[in-house]
Symmetry: C2
Subunit: 258 residues, 2 copies
Amino acid sequence: MIGIFDSGIGGLTVVRELLKHQPEAAFIYLGDTARTPYGNKSPETVVRYALEDAAFLVQHGATSIVIACNTASAVASDELRRAYPNLPIYEVITPAAQDALAVTHGRIGIIGTRATINSKAYENILKSSSSFVIRHSKFEIYTQACPLFVPLVEEGWLKDSETKRIVRYCLAPLRQAHVDTLILGCTHYPLLAPLIQRFMGKRVKVIDSARSVVTRLLAAGPLKTGEQLYYLTDLLAHSEDIARKWLGRSVHFERVKF
Amino acid sequence: MIGIFDSGIGGLTVVRELLKHQPEAAFIYLGDTARTPYGNKSPETVVRYALEDAAFLVQHGATSIVIACNTASAVASDELRRAYPNLPIYEVITPAAQDALAVTHGRIGIIGTRATINSKAYENILKSSSSFVIRHSKFEIYTQACPLFVPLVEEGWLKDSETKRIVRYCLAPLRQAHVDTLILGCTHYPLLAPLIQRFMGKRVKVIDSARSVVTRLLAAGPLKTGEQLYYLTDLLAHSEDIARKWLGRSVHFERVKF
């Protein structure tokens, strides 16, 4: 059974992608809504939370781990692999970076939370890819933290004029830099993808890290079918509504205390 | 020694108000930055966090507690009083409601986080005030959750045009309702007070809950002078910068793990 965790419900974009390909896949999802968000916290704190999240999933029968949260992927992947050396651990950074490298002409933009951007996780993976360096002897990476995007998505402000203005404001430096590929380095951002694509222009290739990680998961072999369990560390009245809207199906969240 | 806690650094608006009147007051401040914000969490979770925060302050010598967080004041005051029956416990809701009642002509607006607004804490206190009911046989209370204000303040977007638009959008129903008094029911909001006052108009009386609670604290008797200690549950690079900007003095934050 796949174990998927996120700082909150944003990681349901990974579940959505998974269900598109395998509607009956067995998985357990944990959203740490009692401590959300992770993107404005220190690496040390995010590592501690990620280890607790993974321990919960493993105790509940997970045989592989998907870190659906870009922030946790950026700062806690190594610690999780050290803690669970025999478990396949999928993080969202490497797949998205690889997908960006496959299509870019050499100008890559990355947006994410402040913690993800500060970690330089995407930049490090992009820069260490030798095939990329060979193809593009001169290449440029542009990063931009967009800390307001997560609250806007969580409030459901997906198409409002204020959101459009904030998207334009935050992405203006990347558009001016003429990036040809843009990595959505946060699981919430796919919900703003239409606004982002419109502002950046049709020719910019937008890479959705949720889609990238699910492609790798499916490539690793056929998924077991079975139970689909959803856990949250805090329950809010509107969580199930949002989940139904995002996933197009009813979801029952079980509350778990850490 | 006064113990002051908040979900994060927003409660420093209470410290700022306190220092204006008694720069040498002895206090211990705790900001739960590892689990911030509280305003989007369930009452049950906020109560648990508030009890842990208060326990820390008491263990470190606090002889009174100031709940600088409106959300925690709204949902956890009763539980804190039950847990510490012999300790003076100041919350921000009652003082701000009283100050609003003292000046209103009968149309009160309240803004806060979703948790504060949903709790109806302000409404309950306002409605139970018999002197108010006698003075205004017909009175109206208008509430509005403004969940985007906290991230805007925390990102330092205090005067940006996007912030102005969001303030206008969120407050429009209260302006249309012709409220004559507006309670800023969140410790972050005083930092948006200039924008809020401008949009609502000069004649609207803006009540700052940080100022209201400090007035009550000073009225209770002379404050002891002595050490001023600042603790956070998560340390970020920019926390001390923000604190210096808000307080006009250097602050050293000590990290504490829960």
